[in-house]
Amino acid sequence: MPSYKLYYFHGRGRAEPARLMLAAAGLPYEDIRLEYEQWPEYKPKMPMGQAPVLEVDGTMICQSVAIARFVAKESGRAGKTNIEQAWADMMADGFVDMLNKMADYVWYEEDEARKAEKKKTFFDTTLPEFLGYFEKLLVANNGGGGFFVGDGLTHAEAFFLCLSDDIIAEKPNVLSPYPKLAALVERIKTYPGIKEWLAKRPQTPF
């Protein structure tokens, strides 16, 4: 079995989709959470000077989606055919687009007025539009009572859970107009491996 080391900070953030897929796969790994003071020492060792990074028997993979997809493949949870893999990838990309829009106002906008404006636009306009697409795409997979792709959990679900955690924290009833998505969140949370991880993972601000 390869050795896996996941480097990130004390938070869910960009590392959590990979952690969820590692949990679903039951793969043991070193969950390294760096203090900010340690970062200057580690940064030059990382392929693009960023975290998260997954080290697999000494090979370093950066970029959160690339990492999550790799980990998903390790347990056959990245889609079973080319087309399923493309579907899982496209769903994950859609969720990451939403996560990036949130990150834009949470982390990258300093002006308070602009921050509030961007947040309002996100919750009032952008997010509802895309949740509508996501609900429809879920339903397109056999009625939406299962998962986004094929008949099993993929990295699409990992990214969706991270997104829904963040949007529900802000607006608890945000998924009520989207019953299939709301039901899927519960199915992901009780998925073997993920359920245990959610119960024991550190509680962190991000």
Partner: protein, 202 residues
């Protein structure tokens, strides 16, 4: 009728990577270019209200990088092992970051802020990025393994697109990246496409 139908606007934009991969793989596809007035009718039929879309195997795929990866697999350009594929994916994502940041500068409305951001992007960010990416090129002159992959093609495409409105570092000063660019532009399928592709405003 080809098995693959790519739909986008009449430009390079986020579809060009897919077109380059089709070209490198020598795979025939329908290259549909929408007029602006055709878009409102198509939009609700697309998975996420966006283009490019790829119609294939009776379904509609969206998200340009996911489409590119799908086509790369058909063309044998996605990386040979899961770890190689992850390295290809990480290079792709890194290039996406470069493009997004450049985009952010381009679309900055405040003229003073824009000038500041552009200076930082061209004089600090890009040189650092090129230095970092140069280290990731193997002795073969490819980002991953010994053959052309989607990683090499993405580096070529994204830098070419960003170079239309930003001053790029001189790739001749980065021996690894220069080799990557040469490998991409000398690929027969890509070379042919670069000669034949339509001239478009974006």
């Amino acid at each position: 009728m080809p098995d693959y139908k790519l739909t986008y606007f009449n430009g390079k934009g986020t579809a060009e990577l897919v077109r380059l991969v089709f070209a490198a793989g020598g795979i025939v596809y329908e290259d549909v270019r929408l007029q602006q007035d055709q878009w409102p009718e198509l939009k609700p039929k697309t998975p996420m209200g966006q283009v490019p879309i790829l119609e294939v195997e009776g379904t509609m795929l969206c998200q340009s990088n996911s489409i590119a990866r799908y086509v790369a697999k058909l063309a044998g350009l996605a990386g040979k092992t899961p770890l190689d594929q992850a390295r290809v994916d990480m290079i792709m994502d890194g290039m996406e970051d470069l493009g997004k940041k450049g985009h952010g500068v381009y679309w900055e409305k405040d003229e003073e802020k824009k000038a500041e951001k552009k200076k930082d992007y061209e004089e600090t960010f890009l040189p650092q990025f090129y230095t970092c990416m140069n280290k990731l090129v193997g002795d073969s002159g490819h980002f991953v393994g010994n053959e052309l992959t989607l990683a090499d093609i993405t580096f070529f495409n994204m830098t070419t697109l960003v170079g239309n409105y930003m001053k790029l570092p001189n790739v001749d000063e980065f021996s690894g990246l220069k080799k990557v660019m040469d490998h991409v532009t000398s690929n027969p399928g890509i070379a042919k496409w670069l000669k034949e592709r339509p001239e478009t405003p974006f």
